[in-house]
Symmetry: C2
Subunit: 199 residues, 2 copies
DNA sequence: GGTGTTACGTTTAGGGCTAAATGAAGGCCT
DNA sequence: AGGCCTTCATTTAGCCCTAAACGTAACACC
């Protein structure tokens, strides 16, 4: 028994009762929530409809961006650093502290990102005048040029990817995501990255 | 002078014209889109309102989940593997291929995940009967127990995080995310993970 | 004016992932 | 039959990140 397993999962195929092999499709949030309810009645599955697609979309967007950038010989992390500096406007300088906050990564990661970018001549690093042990990072000409050469490609590509939604839907989605994000940030303690707190 | 730097960025502070230091706040998608428009008029910024908050939310959810799981001595990647198997129902067995599809990671990553989990006694790996070079992965008792002990914690926590939205908003958001996800998957070539295609 | 604290950035150890190279087993075609 | 191509999983090299340990430098307080 057991036909050699169709090479490609056929959508809308015979949805068997057991649901053991997940009939076909891509394991949507709906499938996952239903599976938990079937396997462990009472599992708190209410968040799945939101968290799972967000996670999957972020993965798809991220993977796609990486591939687009690989053609240009950059990696996402470096372009993110350069973009933050570029967006900040002339003189394209920010403290490492500020960079970390805007990129949502740890101080250690910032150190490494900046070190890599500096090694490639995309940014320079100078001791901050004002405050004690701070470091100011500035975009070089090469870094500036690299942003100009790639950012439209990345953003244009992503605009295509979300173009399946009507402008109305896009606006609605943006609004809801903003509300959720603001609320989640508040619950997680706003600025603090590395701490949840109850211990 | 110079009060030791307010520990917390004050929101709604004096928003200076130059916008160079981004007054305060957390660099919302709106800020980012406005910054591009200011710095490079014509930059295709329409996707930012959607892609950026999705990315940030995924990061916040992911970081938080990692911290919750660290207390239980597991990592997110391993729990993801175990959860997929657990949800599939008895006999808690799936092929590595299927695991990769459901977790959206490359075959190499699956090999490593399974190897780690096997080393810890959470799953077993046996050659697939039916097809040639396939491998079937099965949850062990220890793996099953670990899921039971942690999944409610993780999902409950995430339910809290999204509870700031009204049930209506949650339903609306879920719906929009589903539509977007389905469309993006279609555009990226559905199942294929590692390929965008135009070369 | 010492001394402890606090605030920084950096370094290190280790984990996880991707992409590409590798190896092995069928299937297909002539 | 033999050769080629395809399909799997695994291995390897390299990247990026987190968490924690470090090393400093400025304050603050007594």
């Amino acid at each position: 028994m057991n036909p050699p397993l169709p090479r490609r999962t056929e959508r809308g195929g015979a949805r068997r009762g057991g649901a053991d092999q997940a009939g076909g499709a891509d394991q949507t949030a709906r499938d996952i929530a239903a599976a938990w309810e079937r396997e462990r009645p009472g599992t708190p599955a209410t968040s799945i409809g939101i968290v799972t697609p967000i996670w999957q979309l972020a993965k798809l967007f991220g993977d796609d961006r990486r591939r687009v950038l690989a053609r240009a010989g950059v990696d996402s992390a470096t372009l993110d650093l350069l973009s933050v500096l570029r967006r900040s406007g002339a003189p394209y300088t920010l403290s490492t502290r500020e960079l970390g906050r805007r990129s949502m990564i740890t101080p250690g990661a910032i150190s490494q990102r900046v070190a890599r970018a500096e090694r490639e001549g995309l940014v320079t690093r100078v001791p901050g005048e004002g405050r004690p042990r701070t470091v100011q990072v500035t975009l070089t000409r090469a870094g500036h040029d690299l942003v100009e050469a790639t950012v439209d490609q990345v953003l244009g590509r992503e605009a295509d990817l979300v173009s399946g939604l009507t402008p109305d839907q896009q606006a609605q989605l943006t609004e809801l995501l903003d509300v959720l994000l603001a609320d989640v940030q508040r619950r997680l303690g706003d600025g603090r990255l590395t701490q949840v707190g109850y211990d």
